[in-house]
Symmetry: D2
């Protein structure tokens, strides 16, 4: 009963097979192989437009280099107060931009509030050199706490971005899960709603290492090859990243994986909803379920082999005396039987 | 007849198999899995001492973060004038150290000259703030041009380092090839000769992505976890890097691969030595062969499907009128038949 | 009636005279002149211990390079949520540390709360690479809002620093004003209470450009000459900074200036306390007075030639409907007559 | 007989007086005072066009922030192999650009050779990510060794820049000396010959601290206020820099000072030309004289109170056995009597 994280999972068999198939022969290094090019073409199809695609080693690299691409001196990035970029990337966005700052914006259920965003940006008057200058807005889809932005919410945020001349970045570490949750298309969820750059994550959804920066307007991506190389993120045998994406997109594996993960979260939430030992902190939309329980119950689960992470409550009053908040993550590798086994335990 | 580069090769079947075997199950992320730990132990065995090991995505990252570990403000890195770090890493060492400089030192056959090194360091008087301060020496083993430092040469360079209080780094993108060429042990080639940090490359020698920073004295490595995270080089599913190294070290696969690559270089050099159409630029020691030929001959080879890279001659007078210098790289994947096919072509 | 800022003032006549006297003759450049050395000696006398002193161009440079000196990868600086370093330096601390982050800590009346500080630091578990690592605590004395830390409060904060192995920095842009307010000595206000580094500002208190980084333990300052040079803050004709400090310390000019400025603040606060048109937001301790008034009153003052800055209220509920918060700054150059003229206007 | 450096001189009396006159009253801080604006206007008159002007603390800051303005990821700056930027700024250009590299270009008599420049740039093919990308060319006028570029030479270099789409920067630490040597105008020596940015130095020519970045096309300078603030180079009491420039330009003080310094160099060179104890290394054009002498002679001079710096010879064969190269710098403060006293000593 392992609900620790979707990055504790391994790789989907189809991904492993693709890597094996790719292991022979010679191919141009540094992202210039035929397979690299073909996969870039697949991204264009999937996004229904010409996009520029750059593989990097980690989601943190994708986020940080996206920010480096739109960097401005004294730059300020607006993201949710509990965004991964702000809390969990060890200072990489600040480092790889040479000192840009992340400015946390409040918002319910892990989503940047449009009103709060506009207000935050206005705190930085243009040309007022002492505070620095706004440079980007970043949202996480699905969010850190398993919720998703609706298409309208994305559009509203991008409108605020436009009003202030700021690019909109989407941290898509769980892009596929959000897509499946909204039952929409990549194009609808991104550029048709004003998103300019996506950190397109596939690692959590069945690859072992496949992250890409997708720039919607390739003319804006001119510096990225140099940014990536300079950050030491240009793989020599890049075709092995390409091979993962190739298999990931083939026969909609990525969507199937995401739908499965989301379905397991729904199933898990169902068990929790019926249990008297835990309660849902909020309704899950993607592949993460947050539940409140007595600390003693958490200890009991742990002893019984249930693996999950404690989480810091996003707002006061959510957690009662002697309680804790737990995060349960599902993935392509989560078996229905395991979910039900946990369901049985809490019934 | 592909002699373009050892990073045009794929992955050894044993590496592919190891990845597949690792694809199932759950494992702690971010380098804390049992397999990660086991592989760290293997490094200690191989180096015959307690070492600290950090996986990163690329050789450029290994070099750059090694430098970041020993960074000093206004710092100057001494390396060969044609070192990869200086010429081929797109400014990554400078960037990831926040502006350290690489200072090229001359030396015959791709090796830093001990005399030239001492002279170069002395140009930077201690406390003379205008020039900056020496911070590290880096040598490449095997070198960029397929030669190797003898153990005595390494010891002589490290003596110069000690005299100036500087750490010695070894760029081991082709570590195994050098080891095989010298028929020695990792311990003898590194810390027993005064090397402090190694960029330990396995990608070029049969992995698809496996690079590690090995710090000989773990107490000196305290900051590295933060440096790596901050540079976005901490893999979430790190066990897949570990799995590659695990297979790489098992049954001496790494040494076998390197010996094969080196043997193919010797074989290739033998063909060239007997040919009237090319001549060896210098004697190869590892897995790279450099040969001089008429430019028209190079064109002819190209048309016949021989893939190799033109190279800039390291010194004047080497190349005659109408001639060019070509680099031929062999690897674990180079077939004897292909070498002989080329041999037949130039006989 | 100019209460805009203490950096709108000019230079004290004694400072101007010192510069003129220094204008002739030749002196070693780059901080190595006899006068530079003599002034360093004066700092040692004033702090009653051997200290290391580094002149820089701005207070922002002093703060930022102090942080660069104690920099750690993924480093986090703890300071007040409304500290100058966090809100008004255009990203310089982040930039000159290569991406360290400033983490705002709440606290009443502009002072970091000891409890809140400990709690904030504990959010960053040692070795938890994802969040980064604590690297320093910085307090501002006098604070941004004209209050001062008592000696006991400084000691309590440094105790928290010690408990977590963190250096304590003091932003002393208004060091002299705080000293005069507490009627204590530099030694008592700094290293005897556990302060490790001081940004020692003299510009606001009568110099035209004189800022120094004072490192209490010179053995900790080894890298600073290189840090300063690398940030382009080493003046060639450094003796002109030295000359300002020389005059600043002579005959206690600095203390006289600060006492005058503080006395003018007390006088101004007295006028406001008796007025029905404004009320004090809080009791001033140094040379800044904050008062609440109707916005229409502020407009009226402005029209009458009173110059002061609107200020963002540090907490909700302070300002009523239709009101605003104004900052009035006094300095060595503030004339008693001008204060009383304003007093007459609001009586 | 002090010929150590033009930054060992003090300040011209007119500069000192201007500072004193400015010491009273209140003025808007951070570069927004009336005097700041007026001096910006003077720069426009002097350059005969609208320019953007930014005061900074040091010449190193002017150079480094000029480079930061035109920064590109993986960027390479081309300058003379012995340029100040490359050899004497402690890594500041690399640091303040976040890792750009300076690439030394050879050229006789301290001047970048046009042929060598074109060749150097061509070594970096567009889009070849491994080497990085050219970002700027910087020339020093007058050069480090007292020579000057002719107007035609500047034009030829800027033509090469245009051909490669690179901006041309001029390090004008001794701008006035070069101007006086060529008897031309600022406009002719800069933008009319294709120069885009100038580090305009006044410190060495009679100010105590007055350095400015002058951007010929203000629309290209949009980011500079933020770059300057972020590097902690925005003076609060900026009007005191402005006051120096104001006096510097009044009644052509700057040109008079430069002409005097240059004339003293000519006079000194005349003495040396007639002496049997030294010989000119090359003909001086501005305010630096380089002479070759026996090392024993240098010792003798030193004992007699002649202050000058030894210099590294720019090419082999210049200095004979037992000889050394000495640099003698003149300035506005060099007295004719002192020059002649030295002349008498060597006659």
């Amino acid at each position: 009963m392992n609900f620790a994280s979707d990055n504790w999972a391994g790789a989907h068999p189809a991904i492993a097979q693709a890597l094996t198939e790719q292991s022979g022969g010679f191919a141009t290094a540094y992202g210039l192989s035929d397979l690299d090019r073909a996969v870039e073409g697949r991204f264009c199809e999937i996004f229904e437009r010409e996009v520029a695609v750059f593989f990097v080693a980690t989601g943190t690299a994708a986020n940080s280099l996206s920010m480096a691409l739109v960097n401005r001196p004294g730059g300020v990035i607006f993201c949710h107060a509990h965004a991964h970029m702000l809390e969990d990337e060890g200072g990489a966005p600040e480092y790889l931009t040479g000192g840009a700052r992340t400015h946390g914006v409040e918002g319910a259920l892990g989503r940047v509030g449009t009103g709060a965003l506009g207000k935050a940006i206005q705190q930085f008057p243009a040309e007022f050199v002492h505070m620095g200058q706004p440079m980007a807005v970043s949202i996480t889809q699905a969010t850190e706490i398993g919720t998703v932005y609706s298409l309208d919410e994305i559009a509203a945020i991008s409108q605020t971005c436009r009003a202030h001349g700021l690019p909109l970045h989407m941290d898509g570490a769980r892009f596929a899960n959000a897509l499946a949750a909204l039952d929409t298309t990549p194009a609808e969820m991104t550029w048709k709603r004003g998103v300019d750059i996506v950190s397109f994550g596939a690692t959590k959804n069945g690859c072992w290492c496949a992250e890409a920066i997708v720039v919607m307007d390739p003319t804006q991506a001119r510096d990225m090859p140099f940014l990536r190389k300079r950050a030491a993120h240009l793989f020599s045998k890049s075709r092995f990243i390409a091979a993962q994406f190739d298999a990931y997109f083939r026969d909609d594996l990525w969507l199937k994986n995401a739908r499965h993960a989301n379905a397991m979260a729904v199933r898990l939430a169902g068990h929790i909803g019926k249990s008297s030992r835990l309660r849902l902190a909020w309704q899950p939309a993607a592949n993460e379920v947050f539940a409140i329980m007595a600390s003693s119950t958490a200890e009991e689960f742990k002893a019984a082999g249930v693996i999950f992470h404690p989480w810091q409550a996003p707002h006061e009053g959510l957690i009662g005396e002697g309680e804790m908040l737990g995060r349960f993550v599902t993935s392509f590798a989560t078996a229905e039987e395991e979910v039900d086994r946990f369901g049985g335990m809490i019934a």
